[in-house]
């Protein structure tokens, strides 16, 4: 009978201490939460703990908690909170630290790199828009079309030396803006 009830109807039953409704809700939702936690913590045992804690909280707070809006939104907020809480506990455990370092930390660094790249792309494009027209054209050909200074010189019918000079000035202007090594990553072939 419980399979036909909506999430919120199940919650209403749970509020009245209906253990069967609670189990039905668990069977309905557990896998999504488990896979979410496992994808982040890279460990099935820890993902199990997280799912257990999320549902434990629902049961413990059944009388006091009023969920407004979508129940699955609420669950995903809860699982995110539990993942972070669990990660903090893992970081305090001597043996689990090795797991975090090997399997979770790389994902964080990747996320950080992506964020940073996006941020810098934004800053750089603002800066490029403020460059003189010729320099802007040369810089865009170099960075966006990946042309060599020689090819740029041919395309724009100017000397290669001018291209190199303009690129060098452009890079110099960008330098204070972003970390040097990253600029060099973006514009390796100047």
């Amino acid at each position: 009978m419980y399979t036909e009830l909506t999430d919120l109807e199940l919650l209403e039953c749970i509020k009245r201490d209906d253990v069967n409704a609670f189990e039905a809700l668990y069977r309905r939702m557990w896998e999504k939460l488990f896979l979410f936690a496992q994808g982040r913590l890279k460990s099935k045992a820890d993902a199990e703990d997280v799912v257990q804690q999320v549902f434990m909280n629902i049961w413990e707070q059944r009388a006091t908690k009023n969920i407004v809006g979508s129940f699955s939104n609420y669950l995903f907020t809860a699982v995110r909170y539990e993942v972070i809480d669990h990660l903090a506990v893992m970081l305090e455990d001597h043996q689990q630290r090795a797991h975090v370092e090997a399997h979770i930390l790389p994902g964080f660094n990747e996320t950080l790199e992506n964020l940073l790249a996006k941020e810098m792309d934004k800053e750089i494009s603002v800066h490029i828009q403020n460059m003189p027209e010729q320099m802007q054209r040369i810089f865009r050909l170099s960075r966006e079309e990946q042309l060599t200074p020689e090819e740029i010189a041919k395309t724009l019918a100017i000397t290669e030396k001018t291209v190199r000079n303009q690129l060098s000035i452009a890079v110099n202007n960008l330098r204070p803006l972003v970390k040097e090594s990253l600029v060099l990553l973006l514009i390796l072939h100047t």
Binding site: W30, Q38, G39, F55, R80, I84
Partner: protein, 321 residues
Amino acid sequence: MDLHELQQIIHKYQQGTATPTETQLVEAWLLQTTNDESAWSSPTERAATEDRILTKLRAGIGIAAPRRRSIWQHRLLRIAAMFLLCAGAGYAGYQYRYHLLDYVDPIERLTVSTGMYDIKQVILADSTVITLAPQSSLTYPRKYRGQSREVALHGKGYFNVNRHPGQPFWVHTKSIDVQVLGTSFVVNDQPQDSTAGVSVLTGKVNVRHEQLLLGVLTANKAVSFNKTNGTSRITEIDAAGEMRWVDKHLVFETTALSEVLKALAEQYNIVFQSSTNIEKGKVFTGEFTAKDSLTDILDIITISTGLKYQLLNNHTIKIYR
């Protein structure tokens, strides 16, 4: 970013004290799309997991669910973790990571500048000693992080770099970049000069403009880089001769006496009682080392300009004919 830093960020995120960048990082990590989101080795494994969690849940509900840990224990661990962070265990990740970390958690950078006539010494965290010529400035990190040591120089400086294997030392100026391991050399890049140069006293030095290698210099070699046309030239030099200014403290070269007194007043925190009438038309040329006392300096200056001086009190000096 290493484990300690991750721990710090997670901790701050939980406490609600994370910076906007740190919060953004944690949330982006939570919302990332992971590719192993449907990884059951078999349907049996899935069913077994489902039942195992449910069993634990039932047990938890039955015995009124204890929390995983008591709060004070948790907090003690956190304090311990903070001490660990403060102790700052070194982590040798690769250099790129440190740039990312510098973005999230920048290390404070300090700047030392010299005036028109004085020379200053700066000692860095790695015991590298830098002597700054007049009208120069050096910007350096309070401490080093990662595999490279980097400073920025405006003007002229003598570097005596402490050797740290695997941790190159970089000097960046407006037009050149100098990379060394452990040597002594002078870098000179003044905004008013059309050339920038590096002279080497000992060891081996790589000099670059942008990514272009201008030369690998050894002892008694110098490179001069022309800022207007981008050409460079390597020459033989008497490096010891070029470093003579290094152990000096104050250097004047046909400097107006009024300027000399102003520099001394600044350097020694004193006041001169004098007049433009007395100072007018007088110039002074001379160098002083840190060992010269103020009275030595005043003796030399007044004798060579035909004047006299008198100490009125600890910080006031009268200059007269």
